[in-house]
């Protein structure tokens, strides 16, 4: 049994912000982070003087590759006007900013700093799809890259192994996509704020307008089965199984628990957190789950003194539809091999007993990889404070939520539990 972890002193989240996510031709990493920063400062109920920030931890996966610019820590500390305070960049592929969050927590828990800005940023859309595929594939293990695996490819392969073992199929993946797209229009920051039905109707209208015969799609699944609108990317991953290419930024203000009330009467507290590392897909224990997620979850639940049943809702790393099914099993929300049934039964919908990805998830909200981890925690924080507007979970006693972030092909996984006391 792993040692039960605890912090030297408690840490609270007193502010959170994110930019709109999307593909922006005329926006860059700096003004996206500025948007997230302004959103965060506005969320601090009793106000924040940025001069009080002790340090910055910034997650960024690979603006080095995407923008030919590295060393983003000081660029961002300068942007928000806190130089010469220290700025440190963290990298864990798509889990880069979850690592920044953890570093911020450690820095406060150790007693070294009291007020820490943590954030993430990524600017991907100025590259072609193929270049982005190559850039992301830098975070696979070398053998995967050499064999021609892309990220959708690895998750496609995971899906074939999962289908074979549990008898699930493509139709079950569609349930995840349809569910996430139900939440998306309720999120004003989402890259694709549309339901699948919205997209189907828009497609019909556009075909009609151009005088092209309109296919008879009787429902969303028929639309998704049509390879003209939903082509294969990496079998069985089709376009609508994959998160988009995105630009965006996110940030949070972490403070020592004892000063949290100076910032807000409604702090959200860190209850538990865990991080795991994993081997390449080919060398993992099984091809149908992620060991690193399971380890991270065990650590986080142990630290929080909680179990999966205590987590009322979660954001999970649905970079691909199959990933969401696997994560909700790995995190203990549903039994191994039964995640796809839970989604089919509607248990993970906004009004269901275990809402998953109320933000629309990576699939609809967008996935600027370095910004994703903290944007997930932003959603959990927003829900816990009852400020999620139209997508607020219809539960008056929302107290505990969590975020799961995955980097690479499961090489870095984190699980973070936040609570309202």
């Amino acid at each position: 049994m792993a040692k039960r972890r605890k912090l030297g002193r408690g840490v609270a989240v007193v502010g959170a912000g994110m930019s709109r996510f999307g593909m922006f031709r005329d926006r860059d990493s700096k003004d996206l982070f500025a948007e997230a920063f302004r959103d965060m400062t506005a969320s601090v109920d009793k106000g924040l003087d940025p001069a009080d920030i002790d340090a910055l931890y910034l997650g960024n996966f690979s603006n080095d590759y995407f923008m030919r610019q590295s060393h983003w820590g000081p660029l961002i500390s300068d942007l928000v006007g806190i130089t010469p305070k220290p700025a440190t960049r963290t990298e864990g592929a798509c889990a880069s900013s979850a690592l920044a969050f953890r570093e911020g927590v450690f820095a406060i828990a150790s007693g070294f700093y009291d007020i820490v800005l943590v954030g993430g940023v990524e600017e991907m859309s100025k590259r072609t799809t193929e270049e982005v595929a190559e850039g992301l594939a830098l975070a696979t293990v070398p053998y995967e890259g050499k064999a021609g695996f892309t990220f959708p490819g690895v998750f496609g392969a995971v899906a074939t192994a999962y289908f074979e073992k549990y008898g699930a199929g493509r139709e079950h993946l569609m349930n995840v996509t349809i569910k996430s797209h139900e939440n998306a229009p309720l999120n004003p920051k989402a890259q694709y704020p549309y339901t699948i039905r919205d997209m189907m109707e828009a497609k019909k209208a556009s075909l009609e307008k151009r005088g092209i015969p309109v296919p008879e799609w009787e429902d969303e699944k028929a639309f998704l089965r049509d390879s003209k609108v939903n082509p294969v990317v990496a079998w069985p991953m089709h376009l609508y199984d994959c998160c988009p290419i995105s630009d965006g930024a996110s940030c949070m203000l972490l403070v020592a628990e004892e000063i949290a009330k100076n910032f807000t009467d409604e702090p959200v507290y860190l209850a538990g957190m865990g991080q795991g590392s994993g081997r390449g897909f080919h060398a993992s224990e099984a091809l149908t789950y992620f060991e690193a997620t399971r380890y991270a979850a065990k650590e986080a639940y142990g630290m929080a003194g909680m179990g999966p049943e205590d987590v009322q809702f979660a954001e999970v790393h649905d970079c691909f539809s199959i990933a969401e099914i696997i994560h909700i099993e790995d995190l203990g929300f549903f039994r191994e091999g039964e995640g796809y049934k839970a989604v089919e039964e509607g248990r993970t919908r906004l009004a269901g007993p275990k809402p998953i990805n109320t933000s629309g998830g990576l699939k609809c909200k967008g996935h600027p990889v370095g910004a994703t981890g903290i944007s997930q925690l932003y959603e959990v924080w927003t829900q816990l404070r009852g400020k999620a507007g139209a997508r607020q979970i219809p539960n008056k006693n929302l107290r505990v939520g969590a975020a799961h972030n995955l980097g690479g092909t499961g090489g870095t996984c984190t699980f973070t539990i936040l609570e309202r006391r």
Binding site: T129, E130, E131, A133, E134, A137, P142, Y143, E144, G145, K146, A147, G148, F149, T150, P152, G153, V154, G156, A157, V158, T160, A161, F163, E164, P231, V232, V233, A234, W235, P236, M237, G280, F281, H282, A283, L287
Partner: protein, 138 residues
């Protein structure tokens, strides 16, 4: 067997010689393909080379229509996808490998569990020689 470091450079070099090689821990006997310099079972550091028979079964696969640039250079694209997968070797352990001799435009005909045998794909571009590990239906 000649002395070669237990690393990816040697693994690639052996592939160019049409050998699929792994390392075996002299302490506990655990086999690793691709090779590892350190045993993650008993933490021993004494390894020996072992040649694989090149037989296995398909454990997972995908057919890719949006390839990275180096695969596009080999002629793959949205109209001409390729299959790649994870192969469980007869000796145990799994490797990532291209899957050839199957129809990537018809992925429903490719089955997890199908028996495979090794094939080495040699590639030369601008004088640079490379070998890709592949498997085909046995």
């Amino acid at each position: 067997m000649e002395e070669r470091a237990f690393n990816d450079i040697s693994y690639e070099k052996f592939l160019r010689e049409e050998k699929l090689m792994g390392s075996r821990c002299k302490g506990c006997g655990r086999l690793y393909v691709p090779p590892r310099p350190l045993c993650i079972e008993c933490h021993g550091a004494e390894m020996e080379w072992v040649r694989m028979k090149g037989e296995g079964r398909l454990a997972a696969f995908t057919c890719i229509t949006v390839p990275p640039p180096f695969m596009m250079a080999q002629g793959y694209n949205r109209k001409n996808p390729y299959c790649t997968g994870v192969v469980e070797l007869a000796e145990g352990g799994r490797v990532d490998a291209r899957i050839v001799g199957v129809d990537p435009t018809n992925p429903e005909t490719i089955r997890v569990g199908m028996p495979l045998k090794v094939k080495f794909l040699h590639w030369e571009e601008d004088g640079k020689k490379e070998t890709f590990l592949a498997f085909e239906p046995a």
